[in-house]
């Protein structure tokens, strides 16, 4: 059938005097709409962003090409440096504890115990609402005279804690709220990984006399290598891109005193509040480079650990 079709196409080509459209290329034509869509809405904006990072652009006037000036200026831009440090602190707080705690939760829920599914469902609840809703809920919980203060105050008698209005507490609050929602999500990924470990291997370790800790360290963890890398990479990328939490939960979008200003929020401020789209694009490019570097580093380290 296919041979006949090819012969027919060849004949047709001869008659029309031009080469036929090879049937093998038809697949490409079918995916072309998606490729065009992807190119227009994903690839083009990325390259356009790179171009904008080389311009002085206020969105209201035409962009002016200024070469690498935006990047040179970032090196001495106090706001950018503040946001960079805040982001790095946030990333540490939003990755290491999440990695460890979500693994611990997965190990717990990997055990069989009464009511496990119910507890697991409750534990998973923070993943369901959108980030904006989570931020709004926590805004109420973290009111200076709210539930969080009452809980702490029950121990030490303090009746007011400015959780979101203190330059030390506010960044910590961002990390806690982020981790609260992220841990159950990553727990599911760990659980999927744990499910994939063959029971025979664990049984063999038990027969060899391995205790629970030894089984985890020498059997589970090495076999969870790819899951571990996935969790680390996703958690890092998510943390670097954090925006909604700081936008909604923090005082004055990044306050107090810029203590919760992260790079994602800075891009928004530069682009849409300060009319500095060229700087916003430059920060985005730097973010892209950092995330790419950290992810590649994680993948490289992951290849060498085990």
């Amino acid at each position: 059938m296919a041979a006949n079709a090819a012969t027919g196409a060849a004949e047709a080509a001869g008659e029309a005097g031009r080469p036929p459209l090879d049937i093998r290329w038809w697949g490409l034509w079918f995916v072309l709409p998606v490729v065009v869509f992807f190119a227009v809405f994903s690839v083009f904006p990325v390259f356009f962003g790179f171009y904008l990072s080389l311009t002085d652009y206020d969105l209201l006037s035409p962009p002016l090409f200024i070469g690498l000036d935006n990047f040179r200026n970032l090196a001495s831009d106090k706001l950018f440096l503040t946001a960079l440090v805040n982001t790095l602190v946030f990333v540490v707080g939003a990755t290491l504890p999440v990695w460890a705690a979500s693994l611990a939760a997965a190990l717990l829920f990997d055990q069989v115990f009464r009511g496990r599914d119910v507890v697991k469902a409750i534990f998973f609840l923070p993943v369901l609402p959108p980030a904006v809703v989570i931020a709004v809920i926590w805004r109420l919980l973290l009111h200076p005279n709210g539930i969080a203060t009452s809980t702490v105050g029950w121990f030490n008698g303090i009746s007011e804690i400015p959780w979101l209005a203190n330059t030390v507490l506010a960044p910590l609050a961002m990390i806690v709220v982020h981790d609260w929602a992220a841990i159950p999500f990553f727990m599911l990924i760990w659980l999927a990984g744990l499910t994939g470990i063959p029971q025979e291997v664990r049984d063999a370790a038990i027969v060899d006399g391995a205790g629970a800790l030894a089984r985890f360290w020498y059997v589970d963890l090495p076999l969870l290598r790819s899951t571990s890398l996935l969790v680390a990479s996703l958690a890092t990328i998510n943390a670097f891109q954090s925006f909604v939490l700081q936008f909604v939960l923090s005082a004055d979008q990044g306050g107090p005193a810029n203590s919760t200003l992260v790079l994602g929020l800075l891009v928004f401020k530069y682009g849409f509040q300060y009319f500095r789209m060229g700087d916003a694009a430059a920060v985005s490019v730097v973010m892209f480079a950092i995330i790419m570097s950290v992810t590649l580093l994680q993948l490289w380290l992951g290849r060498r650990v085990y």
Binding site: N4, L60, S159, N166, A257, F275
Partner: protein, 444 residues
């Protein structure tokens, strides 16, 4: 031709598949066929206003009436949620698809004017002989949209803040807001302390008075008002520089610091003071304007309106600064669209009484000031008396960045406990650098 059919048959042997391909070709051809052009004389103007539910019905009626009166003009009216309005406007202008008619706050118009987005008012298209013929119809409202002696928009809402007292809380404290409301900033803390309830740690469980801290522009407004009371300008008109490192600036800022740290009456850590007043959790609030009256009535709150306090040695007898929302026309629109846009704006202004009485949008126009709605509540007169004395809060390019720097300094002083003497000069320099950069970019 036969060969091509043979190829199609060999590729799509199923007749249904071939039929589908031909149908798809027909649809694509039909869709790509040129559409019959609109009548050459018809002008379509795009009008973008932000959402305000009580106003939308009036907007639609105005559009219908306008199109009927001007059959050669079509209006494409879009209502945009308040939270998305600024961003959408900005991206539309960036992509060259901005509206012909749009609105914005007096605080942000400077940026648009600097970028030459705003068309100066076309008095002829509006149907007025000149600027005086237009502005003489208003008590005030154009100072926030005047640049280089020209006006670039028409006020569709003018506001100024006054103080609202919760009568029940004042009565409970044995006070009468009519008689006991403080006339000066200096007298305010002692009176408000009487309304404040505190726990054993001295933490307010009910505040007597607080500022609207979550509002980014509150600090800008209140500080500017305090500058004006001292006979000074927050943005020096001579040098064009921000003047927080002056005695007037230090005094205004110190008042806010003392409110939080010395008198402990409130602070940025608390919630929305407007919501707290409406919920009966706050004794006094000073960030409602005329628009507050229907909200008090809806909340079933017994209230008293009082003028904002002044400094005891105030040079000017002004309360809080004024601000406005303006209807403006896109200078990049075609001349015919601009003319049509100003005609539309005129019809909008001519409905000022209806907009005030049904949508609560106040413009101090003569017919509004003599309307039954205006006369129905004596409090309105008190608010408008304050408006007569108010100056407009300064509008500068890069407003949001400058305000962010100011708020950072505020946090450093109020929450970080850093002395104003060191913070103010530093943030003042930072604000002026940001302002100079915004002006330079706009000038370029």
């Amino acid at each position: 031709m036969r060969g091509r059919n043979a190829t199609l048959k060999s590729i799509m042997p199923h007749p249904m598949l071939r039929a589908f391909a031909m149908l798809a070709t027909l649809v694509v051809t039909a869709l790509s066929a040129p559409v019959a052009p609109a009548t050459a004389q018809t002008t379509t103007i795009k009008v973008w206003l932000h959402d305000h539910p009580p106003r939308v019905a009036i907007d639609k009626a105005i559009v219908a009436e306008f199109e009927k009166a001007n059959p050669d003009i079509k209006v494409q009216y879009d209502v945009i949620p308040v939270g998305e309005y600024g961003q959408k406007l900005l991206t539309a202008f960036a992509s060259g698809s901005g509206p012909d008619v749009f609105m914005n706050s007096s605080l942000l118009v400077s940026q648009y004017q600097s970028a030459k987005i705003l068309a100066p008012v076309d008095f002829a298209a509006l149907g007025y002989a000149d600027e005086k013929a237009l502005t003489s119809l208003y008590l005030t409202g154009f100072d926030g949209i005047r640049f280089g002696g020209k006006i670039y928009g028409l006020p569709i809402e003018v506001s100024n803040w006054v103080c609202y007292a919760n009568n029940a809380i004042w009565k409970e404290a044995g006070l009468d807001p009519e008689k006991d409301f403080p006339k000066t900033w200096e007298a305010l803390p002692a009176v408000m302390e009487k309304l404040t309830k505190r726990d054993a740690n001295g933490v307010p469980t009910r505040r007597g008075f607080d500022f609207l801290w979550p509002n980014r522009n509150m600090f800008w407004f209140v500080q500017s008002s305090m500058f004006h009371q001292q006979g000074k300008e927050m943005v020096d008109p001579q040098t064009g520089k921000i003047a927080f490192d002056t005695p007037a600036g230090q005094r205004a800022v110190q008042y806010m610091i003392d409110h939080v740290n010395k008198y402990r009456l409130g602070g940025p850590q608390y919630g929305d003071s407007r919501a707290d007043l409406l919920a009966g959790r706050l004794g006094t609030e000073c960030s409602f304007g005329l628009f507050g009256i229907p909200q008090m009535k809806t909340a079933n709150l017994s209230y008293t309106i009082r003028p904002a306090p002044r400094f005891a040695d105030a040079v000017n007898d002004n309360g809080f600064d004024a601000y406005a929302f303006y209807m403006m026309v896109n200078a990049r629109s075609a001349p015919a669209n601009q003319k049509a846009a100003w005609k539309y704006a005129r019809m909008y202004l001519d409905r000022s009484v209806e907009l005030f009485e049904k949508a609560g949008l106040f413009v101090p126009r003569q017919e509004v000031l003599t309307s039954p709605g205006y006369k129905s509540d004596p409090n309105i007169g008190l608010i408008v008396d304050e408006l007569k004395k108010a100056k407009f809060a300064p509008s500068i390019p890069g407003h949001d960045q400058v305000v962010d720097i100011l708020l950072k300094g505020r946090d450093q002083m109020i929450q970080g406990g850093q002395p104003a003497a060191t913070v103010l000069p530093a943030i003042n320099e930072e604000m002026n650098t940001a302002l100079a950069r915004a002006r330079a970019r706009a000038g370029g």
